[in-house]
Symmetry: C4
Subunit: 202 residues, 4 copies
Amino acid sequence: MSTARLETFADGVFAIAATLLILNVDAQVSEDVHDLGTTLARIWPSYLAYAVSFVTIGILWINHHTVMSQIDRTDRRFLVATVGLLLCIAFVPFPTRLVAEHIRGNGARDAALAYGFTMMAMAIMFNITWFYASRGRRLLRSDADRAVATGLSHSYLPGPWIYLAATLISFVSPATSVVLFMAIALFYVIESAIFGSAKSAA
Amino acid sequence: MSTARLETFADGVFAIAATLLILNVDAQVSEDVHDLGTTLARIWPSYLAYAVSFVTIGILWINHHTVMSQIDRTDRRFLVATVGLLLCIAFVPFPTRLVAEHIRGNGARDAALAYGFTMMAMAIMFNITWFYASRGRRLLRSDADRAVATGLSHSYLPGPWIYLAATLISFVSPATSVVLFMAIALFYVIESAIFGSAKSAA
Amino acid sequence: MSTARLETFADGVFAIAATLLILNVDAQVSEDVHDLGTTLARIWPSYLAYAVSFVTIGILWINHHTVMSQIDRTDRRFLVATVGLLLCIAFVPFPTRLVAEHIRGNGARDAALAYGFTMMAMAIMFNITWFYASRGRRLLRSDADRAVATGLSHSYLPGPWIYLAATLISFVSPATSVVLFMAIALFYVIESAIFGSAKSAA
Amino acid sequence: MSTARLETFADGVFAIAATLLILNVDAQVSEDVHDLGTTLARIWPSYLAYAVSFVTIGILWINHHTVMSQIDRTDRRFLVATVGLLLCIAFVPFPTRLVAEHIRGNGARDAALAYGFTMMAMAIMFNITWFYASRGRRLLRSDADRAVATGLSHSYLPGPWIYLAATLISFVSPATSVVLFMAIALFYVIESAIFGSAKSAA
């Protein structure tokens, strides 16, 4: 398959998963709400969760593009690995809602665990996809820069461990765990804001 | 990243956000409704809200294309800014529903404020995206017309202020505020109908 | 705007509107249903409505492509007209659900009217889009075949009147009206099955 | 129509149908759930059903691409057949939810039947699409490999029968039937993992 069609399908899943997040906010306000203003203020974790997950999916989409820019062909194994990655991406709206609704209740730990394990699975699939393509330069473009490829490997490898650490902290403090998930998303935005124009986006 | 893949992802979010608006209308009619005709007549604000938000997202999509037609490369900062813009676009269905459901009740002001602030945030992100790309012709095509670029700057800059004004009016009269939101959408349609074939769409 | 990006956005709205139709079927089966088999049999109008609307949107997508194949440029008016057309397409899931749920109850007439008027509005917008583009060959490709263009005009013009007739019949018999909506969809499928390989799809 | 636009529309439906599957998981957890952890553990069939259907749709998307890679033109009949195929694909989220919710209750047989018949219809439409295109090399690329085309015919033909067999088993044991649906999906993943890099993905 040309990488073009793979990208169309992947972009579709990324875009839909991100856009469906708004349904979580929407479900928080019932039609027969009495005091709309109070309700809109009370559900602030939903806005935050929406923003964090949307930005996370957006960053993942940018990273996926960076990977694809180094690749010029696909095989069935790579396609199946990508389907696995997209399966995790499309799952994100569900734990996002759990965190938004339960972070202030006694389901906080379970919600944080669900979010963390989803992110971990996603980071693992991201690594599988990338290392399958780059190992021995299997699917890389002939002119793919060795330095860029090594840089990608270095930046993707810690992902699962970072999410594992943030997830495990929820056993001590679910709130800290969730703050760390937000910090990870924020880190990528700030990193892009500072270094983003120096590094050219391939 | 090539601008092509950015456009695929952005088009996806625009298309989904617009199409999801129908779920707001749908939720207004419960399955066990007794008098369907009366209900369908009573929920006219939902049709209006659907049309106004659909047209607004459609105009924003046209504008986004106009911006992208002047650009021939991207960097990480621009991508992150675009993700921020799309985050606002994908949020639109939620305040649209609030306005449709509450404009005739005592939640009218809060609903108008939610709609207005969403539109303001969106207009601000639109400006950030455009001015980041055009400042010093950072990401512009080498053959981008200086007059077109200046024209875009002039037409996007007032956006946040117009929405701010329309939003603040909701403290005096939410209905007036909502009529202004409709007028803004209508203005763009009429402007296109009158001047649309003279100005070539790049 | 290049016609390519217009088609990406339009294809997105067509695809999402069609795929969202399944949510109407889904909403008919509550989680705590007692006799699943009986329920699945009882909601047969939902399957039929799903199929009719999916095929109708699919045919409209094919027709939209046929129009776009004759066009090689766009202007703002054409884009705004297309947004209006897509607004009608994205509305289709709502009246589809109304017909499926109410065709056997006393809301049958209102449901048929809602479906019919949506289809009429859609057919009108389709004509506006096409005639704006083809009048005086405004946006047509220089090599667009005059016979093909005339053929399109002849086949699109009756659309609104056919849907108006089928809609008005609902005042006498909503069931007949709905059968006619199905017949219109079926006609296009059969017409394609018989003549489809002779006429080359541009 | 160029095959490119057909693929954009098809990719859209595949991507949306797959991403909507998460709504089935989401609906299983009500907002006022008391013990979140217990609920998240209890709904494990929903995760499994999500994964199986997502992978199945993903594999179908890969197969659809393989078909399209052998084709270089379309006609109206082929487009209508593709709309029929996509109609089945977009239907998948509904029986997926039925299986997830009812496999442990007395609706298990009906749910398995609904899932099986959907998959059978889908496999039949897949064959219709492929054999219409390949019969007498009607729509094939002039350089399409006869061996590849024959291979595709051999691998698609048994599909409906395999699903029919797995579906009929639900009259004896719905659980066995569902395990077979999972095995079919797993088979394709494992087959790709073993043979996937040898066979180049066209």
